[in-house]
């Protein structure tokens, strides 16, 4: 009986604290979300319900595209039988991607989809790395950017499968062979759902990794301000440096994982047997 009364007292006290604490806690923690959120740079009107304002993430996407185009145009000069300079550096990465990532999953179609897969890798890598420099923002920490990339992989795989197998063959691809007929609708729905879930997870994985890295760094540094004590910096700053180095590693790994899974999903869409 007294336990219930104690719990009720605790609940009432918590309500009092919450009423006062909600504004304070929300106010102090909001700046963390501000740092990873998007900022509008050039407000533009809405067209057909789509806000066309130029935000920081849009600017970083453009800068990444320009950087990738410039780097590879410069690298073309050294291309040849024996690559020199920048082309040598890129050829090592390109050869690794083609031999270990694309060919095992795409087989004969490797040459056709290699341009897209390589573009995805270097584009995502550039966007991730540009988020780690000061005054830069991670464009891939915007769900719209990662969703657009995942939609591209989805469309390329499915459209290529429809063109190769025809609409009827494309539908048949989702039905595993050798099962009794009354199970077919359930498995068909499960296959379709698996298709969409795979690509959705592709977008969310990259987005979550990029947002989480930066949010942890900002939270660690924000502890200094939440506690209003300079001594917290002796713990926060080294921890933030370590997490930032981890974020550098994660930038490379997540670009590689997105690329590999794109190759896997396109290969799965194009595969003949189930």
């Amino acid at each position: 009986m007294s336990l219930a009364m104690w719990m009720m007292n605790v609940a009432m006290a918590a309500e009092e604290v919450a009423k006062h604490g909600a504004e304070e806690a929300g106010g102090k923690a909001d700046f963390i979300l501000e740092e990873v959120a998007d900022h509008v740079l050039v407000p533009l009107p809405k067209v057909l319900g789509i806000d066309l304002s130029i935000t920081k993430h849009v600017l970083m996407v453009w800068i990444s595209a320009v950087v990738v185009l410039l780097l590879f145009s410069l690298a073309r000069r050294g291309a040849g039988l024996v690559p020199r300079g920048l082309a040598n550096f890129f050829e090592a990465i390109v050869a690794f991607l083609r031999d270990d990532v694309i060919t095992p999953y795409l087989g004969d179609d490797a040459n056709r989809y290699t341009p897209y897969i390589l573009t995805v890798f270097f584009f995502i890598l550039t966007m991730n790395l540009l988020g780690l420099v000061p005054m830069g923002a991670t464009a891939t920490s915007n769900i719209s950017v990662t969703a657009a990339l995942a939609v591209m992989t989805f469309l390329i795989g499915q459209v290529a499968a429809i063109i190769r197998k025809g609409p009827f063959g494309y539908i048949k691809h989702f039905i595993p062979p050798g099962i009794p007929a009354f199970v077919v609708p359930i498995l068909f729905i499960a296959e379709i759902m698996g298709l969409f879930t795979r690509h959705f997870a592709l977008a969310i994985r990259l987005f979550a990794n990029m947002v989480a890295d930066h949010m942890v760094v900002f939270t660690l540094l924000g502890l200094i301000f939440i506690f209003n004590n300079v001594l917290v910096a002796f713990f926060s700053v080294p921890a933030a440096v370590a997490i930032e180095l981890l974020a550098l590693l994660i930038a490379f790994i997540q670009a590689y994982i997105f690329t590999m899974l794109s190759a896997v999903f396109i290969g799965m869409a194009l595969s003949e047997e189930h």
Partner: protein, 79 residues
Amino acid sequence: MWSLALAYLGAGLGAGLATIGGGYGIGRLASAAMESTARQPEAVGDIRGMMILTAAMIEGIALFSVIVAVLLVFVAKAA
């Protein structure tokens, strides 16, 4: 006020449980990598590559729930 409290509680519990799952998964991965490297030290290069790759995928799953927790914390209103 209860909705805000429950949202924060849910976010905290969710993040903690996800860390448990991710930590356990990556711990098993690391132990398998250690054992197989001890068995065959010349395969350490391949094992290291696969270990980092699969660790990043397991971490990605744990981060799915970080997103949910962040949504709970920053979108919950004192209704």
